[in-house]
Amino acid sequence: MVAGRPPVRPRPVTTTKAKAHAPRAARAARPARRLGVCSALLILAFGALAARVGQLQLADGSRYKHLSLDLALHKIPLTAERGSIFDTNGRDLAMSIERTTVYADPTLVTDPATEAATLAPVVHVSEKALFQALSDKGTAHSPRRFVYLAHTVTDTVAQAVQTLKLPGIGFVPESARSYPAGAVGAAVVGEVHADGSGAAGVEQQYNSLLTGKSGELTVEQDPLGHDIPDTQRTQVDAERGTDVVLTIDEDLQWQAEYSLLDQVKATGAKSGMAVVVDVTNGNVIAMASVLGASPTTPAHVADSGDNNAPLTQLFEPGSTNKLITLSWALEHGYVTPDTMFDVPYSIPVAKGVAPYIDAEAHTGVPGGIEHWTTADILRESSNVGTIEIAQRMKNQEMADAVRAFGLGTQTPVAWPYQPAGLLLSPSQYYATGKYATAIGYGVSVTAMQMLDAFATIANGGVTRPPHLLDATIDSNGVRHPAPVNEGTRVVSTNTASLMTQMLQGVISNGTGACAAIPGYNVAGKTGTAKTALATGGYASAATMASFIGYAPAAKPRFATLVALDENNLSYGGAVAAPVFSEITQFALQQYGVAPTDLANTQYSAAQLTAKAANANVNNPCAVPHGSDLAVAQANLAHVQMKPAAGSHAPSRTVSKTASDSTAKSGATAGAKATTDSLPPDPSKHT
C-alpha cells in the first residue's frame, strides 16, 4: 500500500566524516547481498538436507524400510494342534491338550535351596535337579533368565505351584499329548517325540495327517518386546491336524489284552499277541501285544514304545499253515474231504534226510497206520498226512498257494516297518522245502498275514483286506471314510465251505476243543511250531503256540488269532485256544451277534473232548483270572524250580486236547501228549 509507506529518504551526501564510516555504511547499505548470502546458505543447507532426505527416501528408501521392518517385525510361529486319534466308536485314544509348564527366572530367585525343597514334592522333580536349575544364574554378560522346571504338569500341580507364590517362578502354556485310554492299545496308538512328531505306531504311520499346518503371527514390536499399536499385524491361522479314526474297538482291545496278559502270566510265556478282524468289512478291531516277565519287569501289555507284534514279529506258523495246503489241494482237485489216506507215524521224503513224523505214535492200529480222511488229517493235525497230500502237488503249486493267501507280501494294513515275511523259492525247495512249507515250517509270517489267510476262507474264498484306518476327519470336521481295498478270489466258495466244515471238526473233536464258544459254531486250527533260534536250528523246548479261527462258522463275523511265544513245550490247543474262545465270545456278545448253536452241540462235544484229554485238570479250557491266576502262577513257579521238568510245561499248559486216536493211545500229559503236530526237529529237514 503505497499510501502507508514512509517517504523515501534522500541519499546522504558523502562528507569527510561520513567517509570515515564508509565500510560500515557500505555494509549497511548492502542488505540485499547479506540477504542473498543468508538465503544461499539456507538454500544450501536445506538443499543438502533435502538431498539427503531424497537419498534416504528415494535412493535407499526400500533398503532402510526393510532394515527397519527387520528390526521391528517379529514373526511368532503358531503351532498347529495335532489331530486326535479315535477308536471306531469315537472314543479318544490320543488327543492334544494344552497344559502348563513351570519355568524359573534364576536371576529373580532369592533362595534356590529353599525354593527347590518347596517345589520338589509338588512338581515331582528331584530337589537336586531343581536346585541346580534355580542356582544357575548365568554370567553378568549373559544372565540366565529362563529354565524349565517341569513340563506339562497337571492343573492341580500348576495350581499348587501358583499357591506357593515363589519369586522367579513362572508358567507358560505348552501342548501335551494325552492318552486317556491309558495302556489300552498303547502299542497300536504309539507315541510322539518331545517335539510332537510321531515316534511309533499310528502316531508315526499317520504323522503327516495328524500334524497340522503351522500358522504365523507377524507383529511390530519395540526393542522391549511390546507390540507397537496401529502397525502392521498379520496372522496366518494354524490349521489343525487331521483326526484319525481307527477300526480298533477300545472295549474289545481291552478284553484281548486282559485275556492275553493273564494267559502269558499263567504259562510264563515270553510274549503273546492277539488280533481280531471283522470278516464282514476287514476292520481290525483289536490288536494286542503282551510282553512276558523278565528278571526286572513283570509281564505287561506292550507299551507305546514297544513293537506292535502282530504286524512286526515274524514267526513260523506251524500247523495253521495246513489250512493253505489243504485249501489248495481241495481247490485243484487233488483231494476231497473224504479222500482216504494211509497215514503212518513217519514218512521219509528223501534219502539221507530224517523222516517227518507225527507228534505222537500211532498206537492201537495195525502197523501203526491210521486210515484217515483229509478231514481227519486236518482234525488230527497230522504232519505225515499233510505231507502225503502235499506229495500230490508240484513245488510251484505249493509256492503259489502260500503267495495266493498273502504270505510273502505286506498286508494292506499301513504300518511302519512291516515285514513281508520270508518264503522259500520253489527252486530252493530241494528235497524237503515243499513238505516243510506244507506243515508251516520254512516260511516266516506275521500274525496279520496268517489271520488274513483264515479270513479269506471265512469270507467264502475271497480275500478281505484288513485295515486299521476307518476314516479321517479334516480340520473342518468333514469325515472322509478310508478307501477299502477290494478282495480277490483265492479259492472257490465251495472250497471255502468245505474247509469251514473241516475246521469245525478241529473244534468238536480235534486239537482245538478249547476254542469252543457256547452258543456259537467255531471253525479254526491250532498251530505249534518250534521256535527258530537266531544261531540256527530250533529250540528243543520252546514253541510258538497259536490258534486261528472264526465264528460263527456258518456266517463268519469275527476271525481271531492268538499266539504265545512259549518258553516250554506248550501247544496251541492248550494255551492259545482258550484265549481265542474268551476274546471271540466277548466280541460276539459285544456286537450282538445272534447265537447259531443254542443247543450247544459243538460246545458240548468239545467239552467232552477236552475233558477226555485232561482228566486230571479241573477246567482245562479256561483262561485263569484273579485267584485262579495266582494258583496257576504258583504251579508254574513250582514246575520251573524242578530242573528235570525244565523241558516240560506245567500240567495246565501241556494238557492235551486229544482226539479219539490220542485218547486211545493212552498218552499221559506231557510233551508227547498232544495232537498238534511237532516234528522232532524241523531244522534237520530244511
Binding site: 472314543r91 479318544d92 488327543m95 491338550i97 494344552e98 492343573d155 494325552s178 486317556p180 485310554a181 491309558g182 495302556a183 489300552v184 477300545e250 472295549d251 482291545q253 481291552w254 478284553q255 486282559y258 457256547p518 452258543g519 465270545q585 456278545q589 445272534a594 447265537p595 443254542l598 483270572h625
Partner: protein
C-alpha cells in the same frame, strides 16, 4: 484485475461494450483507455456466502474429525471386545478339551473295570441266552428310526414272557 482495453476495443473505441466495457460511473485510467465494466455482486451477499462457506467448511471439518474419532473409538472398543471374545473362546476350548479328556479317561475300559471292581462287581460265570418268542419284534434293520428304549423294552419283555 486491471481493466485493460481489449484489442477489439482498441480497434473500435466507440463500439459499445457489454461485458468487458467499463462500468458506468467508473473512473477511467489516466492512460485514457476505458476500463471494462462488470456487474459486481453485492458486498453483503458476498460476505454472507463467504461466511457460509467458512462455517460449512468448519462444520464439515469438525464433523469429519468427530466421525473419525468416534469411528476410532468404536473400532478400538470392538477390538477390545474381539480380544475378550477370543480369550473367552480359547478358555472355553481349553475347558472343553479338558472335560473331553476327563470323560474319555473316566469312560475308558481300563478305568471302568477298576471302578467296577472297587464296587465289588465280578465278571459273570456264564451267559444265559433268552429264547425269543414268535411274537418277538423284528431285529432292527439299521435304517429305521430308533424306537424309544421304553417302548423297545416293553415289546421285548412281552415277547420273552407273554404271561408276565
Amino acid at each position: 484485475m486491471s481493466a485493460q482495453p481489449s484489442p477489439r476495443t482498441s480497434q473500435n473505441p466507440n463500439a459499445p461494450t457489454t461485458e468487458s466495457g467499463p462500468r458506468p460511473g467508473s473512473t477511467p485510467r489516466g492512460d485514457g483507455a476505458r476500463a471494462r465494466l462488470t456487474v459486481a455482486p453485492e458486498v453483503a451477499r458476498r460476505r454472507l456466502r463467504a461466511r457460509l462457506m467458512v462455517w460449512t467448511a468448519v462444520l464439515v471439518t469438525v464433523a469429519s474429525l468427530f466421525t473419525l474419532v468416534a469411528f476410532h473409538v468404536f473400532a478400538a472398543q470392538s477390538a477390545f471386545t474381539l480380544e475378550r471374545l477370543s480369550k473367552d473362546r480359547a478358555n472355553e476350548q481349553l475347558r472343553y478339551e479338558r472335560l473331553r479328556e476327563q470323560v474319555a479317561s473316566l469312560s475308558s475300559a481300563q478305568n471302568v473295570i477298576v471302578a467296577s471292581k472297587g464296587l465289588g462287581m465280578v465278571p459273570g460265570n456264564s451267559v444265559i441266552e433268552l429264547p425269543a418268542g414268535a411274537t418277538a419284534p423284528p431285529p432292527p434293520t439299521g435304517d429305521e428310526f430308533p424306537r424309544s428304549s421304553i417302548e423297545s423294552y416293553d415289546q421285548t419283555k412281552n415277547a420273552l414272557d407273554p404271561t408276565g
